[in-house]
Symmetry: C2
DNA sequence: AGAATAGTGTCTGTCAGACATTATCTG
DNA sequence: CAGATAATGTCTGACAGACACTATTCT
């Protein structure tokens, strides 16, 4: 019953076409020098969501991301060598965010295969990435990765970076525009970059995509 | 940092064609006399999953269900009037289970609309029911609600009870049998009950249904 | 026989995937 | 102009929903 409760955050973004996660380098024990998810102890009287936002700001200097949701909790008895700790993990998503302050850094998720993260954070990260990938299928979550206004090509690149592979632009377009409330046309066009300028959109009010945008249909 | 950690379980089953949840009647404060989800404090050195199973057995006398997964955690600062408690909720599913011991009872989920549950258990229950309904779409979870061997009609009734409405038996059959590893024929037929006897099946090895069995297509 | 339940066959509209074609910008 | 990117159009195969029809049992 003497149990500590922490909150850890898997914050994902897209930079240079790759899915990246925010990690902080640990200074003190345990796992000194190892990279870890930003997080810390839940404050007395503090809500879980509020703790996730506060810890993110404290440890990385970033503003809270547009999307933040609870991921799941981790409570293996030996997951922290110091004391019994149950961690409530959160998943945050944001557009190409600025370089963080302090000892924080954006890591490409793929590059972390051979890096040993502190505690059970490798497992938490894997769960967070899988949740994000899965939610792209049936929710308009992809829009959380791009800044408004965005083009359909921007949005398509979110899917391509998260899932790997490439999607047919024509079919992607048809699918997105035929889902009511996924994106709303803004009535302007992107600045030309050597081709026909793309129509601009912003997030719509939809919360679910039906029918879903299926991953394996790539 | 002085925070208690509890584990609560939403155990769902199907009885008499209705989706039901296991609740226990509280004796002491807080909420004396109110119905609550079975649960209690996490033991020292105890894994979260193990605590869910132990508490279910202790409070209801039932054996652990075939399917048990973490739902999510609840940590509103005032959710327990006595002390700060974060609860990790679990979702359990089982076939028509025996009547439980002690002060436990199966409630039809629909009948709980106007019943006030203890703590924030109404919210946890709603989340658990929604998770179960959603997972029926893309996982073979429906088989956790029926005893082996089962007929396709048994399986179809799981969907009908969970989602409401009715499904076309012919289309349901085609869909289920065309999903590799969803169900395996057992090579025997159910005892006749006034009609052609149905083929019997058991759970297959599939973990995901692709393409999913879509709810709104009813 | 008639009722009841299980299982098969078939038609149709919708939609994803593939890909050809047209449109509009930059250099 | 060529090259690049955006947007539209079209064909095809797969499949969900609807529903008619056949099969096998019980009373």
């Amino acid at each position: 019953m003497e149990t500590g409760v922490t909150v850890d955050v898997v914050l994902l973004t897209l930079r240079a076409g790759r899915l990246r996660v925010l990690l902080v380098e640990r200074t003190g024990p345990p796992y000194p020098g190892a990279w870890a998810l930003p997080g810390g102890f839940l404050g007395p009287g503090e809500d879980l969501d509020a703790a996730a936002r506060r810890l993110l700001v404290e440890e990385t200097g970033l503003r809270p991301p547009g999307h933040l949701e609870q991921l799941r909790s981790y409570g293996r008895p030996d997951r922290d060598p110091r004391l019994r700790v149950v961690s409530v993990a959160y998943l945050g998503l944001g557009p190409n965010l600025p370089a963080p302050a302090n000892a924080a850094r954006w890591w490409a998720v793929e590059d972390l295969e051979e890096v040993d993260l502190a505690f059970d954070h490798a497992e938490i990260l894997a769960d967070g990435v899988e949740r994000a990938r899965a939610k792209l299928e049936y929710s308009p979550l992809a829009t959380a990765f791009v800044e408004e206004p965005f083009t359909l090509a921007d949005l398509r690149r979110v899917y391509e970076a998260a899932w790997g592979g490439s999607l047919d632009p024509a079919n992607f377009r048809r699918k997105v525009l035929s889902t009511p409330g996924f994106v709303l046309p803004v009535g302007a066009r992107a600045a030309g970059r050597g081709g026909r300028p793309a129509e601009l959109y912003r997030r719509g009010a939809a919360t679910t995509l039906f029918p879903p945008l299926l991953r394996r249909s790539v």
